[in-house]
Amino acid sequence: MALSAEENGRLTGLLSEHAERVVQRWTEVATASLRGRLSQAELRRQVQDLHRSMVEAGRGGSFDLESESAGELRAVLAELSRGRARQGFTATETAVSVYGLKDVLLELLESDADTALRDYVAFSSLVDQMGLFTFESFVRTREGLIADQAEQLLELSTPVVKIWEGVVAVPLVGTLDSARAQVVMERLLQTLVDTSSPYAIIDITGVPAVDTQVAQHILKTVVAARLMGADCIISGIRPQIAQTIVALGIEFGDIATKASLADALRHVLRLTGAETARRQPRRES
């Protein structure tokens, strides 16, 4: 429900006239509902922002959240919702901070007899609208977080596959942070033991950027595999990655690197092929 121009003017007047008291009481109400999980100073800052943008919207002609003059108010509400969602507050706890304004307005209006009730009802629905907007933004952010997490979970699936007799491959996809690098290393070392493979290929085709941390994780994995007697080949080094690695100054030392997984496999087969060829006569005799 939109406010009439007259109501609009009265609300703006009320908010700017009693600015200090509104902010003070609103902060108190909001603090009580959050039971100290957010500092009063932080809440006060948020309430001040809300109050300021509401007065701005009122002076601009309309409180309606759809209107142009409420742009700043929308932004403040969206920011508040995003912050709360990230800090783990529930939707209700977030919305209550906005609804708190109702209590404050009622206190202010009680002293003003005539139009008090009508105004309160009108103002009340406006505050409800703000609350609902907050709720909506909150849920949208939550959904975003869930989507992000789903993506990260997907990134977490790092299979170690046997691609040839005595050759295992680890196709790395996505971001290689410390936790994931640890998982990859453990799985690779375990698979090397389980399959008694002397060769491992670490394929980084799916890693969008190789920075020093990623390089360090890969180097550590290679060294660990070597300690277990396995040789590692790093494959999937695309042109842009190669140039970046050179500019960064990362050195892979004597570790074999190949442009593609196929090249790496061919390289390994050539090595093992030579070995089997040498062994064959012995087996025949």
Partner: protein, 139 residues
């Protein structure tokens, strides 16, 4: 360093956790693709951003990255500002030496990032926090 004219508002990303470092990377990549940087330049800029964002987190105790598309009249570029209120860098020359690290890394992050971008400016001092500005121009 040549500033260039800003095209559009800077996009800020807080750096408070490892996930935020990933977010900085994704933001930089999106902006770099929009500014039509070549694949090599995209990768270099994203990698530099990754190094500097991690430094902001690990050594600066968290901060913020601001990504802006800029134009110097001839070319477009991306400017990224990494700012933190951490302890700052006491010996900048030493910190920019290849292989020097206080954190157990490879010691190539800061020096490597400098080589990956076209312009690199650092304002820091003991107890003053650190503010690093980098620009990568399109070719």
């Amino acid at each position: 360093m040549t500033a260039g004219i800003d095209l559009g508002h800077p996009q800020a990303q807080a750096i408070q956790s490892d996930e935020d470092v990933v977010r900085v990377r994704q933001l930089v990549r999106t902006v770099a693709v929009a500014a039509r940087l070549s694949l090599v330049d995209q990768t270099k800029l994203v990698t530099a951003a990754s190094e500097l964002a991690r430094n902001t987190l690990v050594y600066g105790g968290g901060g913020v990255a601001e990504v802006t598309t800029v134009d110097n009249g001839r070319r477009r570029g991306i400017r990224i500002v990494f700012a933190d209120d951490g302890p700052g860098i006491v010996d900048l020359d030493l910190a920019l030496t290849d292989g020097y690290t206080t954190g157990g890394g490879l010691g190539l992050g800061l020096s490597g990032a400098r080589r990956l971008v076209d312009e690199f400016d650092i304002v820091t001092g003991s107890g003053q926090g650190t503010r690093i500005t980098v620009i990568k121009w399109s070719r």
